[in-house]
């Protein structure tokens, strides 16, 4: 199951300024959770004048208490305060000739709990010179996917259904064997996945407007 968020807006700044601001995102007082940013690849293509960059960010934050309660202890690599560290890989391509920039950020670890892929496209407006010069159009899309319980499900399928299979109402009506001797007695892993994705989607919707540079 996957949750999806998308939005479009525009900045009252020209494309060069916005693309430069993107590389200068951190550090900033609204993102103290970003502990470090490193450039691990950078390639400039002299023919197309495109600049490709790969960066690695390290974020330290606390897991939302709602998610912490729902997760099995084995999946959570945090201390008892719920503080956790995560690595984000950011890829970007800037095409100064055609006036666009595409970026994709995703987490490298915690993928068994939740994987978030955030994509931005920044573009110089098509309209003629004049008003269009001081604007940049932006499209954002965020894809959230949880894979909790998938490994367990695959293992069960391989060994045959030893657990009693019963359909669980929830999570899109999937049929799933109830996780026996589970970490959470009444929830199937499908319901947990859906819960993790919903909580993350709500947080995304709340934080995306604030994140607009």
């Amino acid at each position: 199951m996957v949750k999806f968020y998308s939005n479009t807006y525009s900045y009252d700044y020209n494309f060069p300024a916005v693309s430069l601001a993107y590389f200068l995102r951190y550090p900033n007082p609204y993102s103290r959770h970003v502990a470090s940013t490193d450039t691990i690849e950078r390639y400039f293509d002299p023919d197309t004048q495109r600049l490709t960059t790969v960066r690695l960010h390290v974020k330290q934050s606390r897991l939302p208490p709602a998610v912490l309660k729902v997760l099995p202890k084995s999946a959570v690599g945090s201390d008892e305060n719920g503080r956790a560290q995560s690595f984000i890989l950011e890829k970007s391509v800037v095409d100064v000739r055609q006036g666009w920039m595409e970026t994709e950020s995703k987490n490298l670890d915690w993928n068994n709990v939740l994987s978030v892929i955030e994509r931005h496209t920044f573009r110089r407006p098509e309209e003629g010179l004049g008003t269009a010069d001081h604007r940049t159009d932006v499209e954002v899309s965020v894809t959230l996917k949880s894979r909790i319980g998938e490994q367990l499900r695959k293992k069960r399928q391989r060994w045959g259904d030893q657990a009693t299979a019963s359909s669980v109402a929830g999570a899109g009506g999937e049929e799933e064997p109830v996780v026996k001797q589970g970490w959470f007695s009444s929830w199937s892993s499908g319901a947990v996945r859906a819960a993790v994705e919903s909580i993350s989607l709500q947080r995304t919707e709340r934080s995306q407007p604030k994140a607009q540079l």
Partner: protein, 82 residues
């Protein structure tokens, strides 16, 4: 300037970042760039960083991500069989 995950690379990283921001805003964005002038500095920074990533065991995670991408590319760029 943002910090590096490896504090020992902070100095060379700052030099590279300064060079990059200057090149980016003065040459690249004005469409007058012919080469990546900061490449030598980047190589120095990258050497320090690669060593640090290896020591911290993060390089394996990056290799896995790269392998994942290659798989995805192969899958999505396959000519569709119709």
């Amino acid at each position: 300037m943002s910090a590096s995950l490896a504090p020992e690379c902070n100095d060379v990283k700052e030099r590279y970042d300064t060079c990059f921001l200057k090149w980016y805003s003065e040459k690249y964005l004005r469409n007058t760039a012919t080469t990546d002038e900061c490449e030598p500095l980047f190589r120095q920074y990258k050497t320090c960083l690669t060593k640090a990533l290896k020591e911290r065991g993060i390089d394996q995670m990056l290799e896995d991500a790269k392998a994942d991408n290659k798989e995805n590319d192969a899958e999505y760029m396959k000519p569709s069989a119709r």
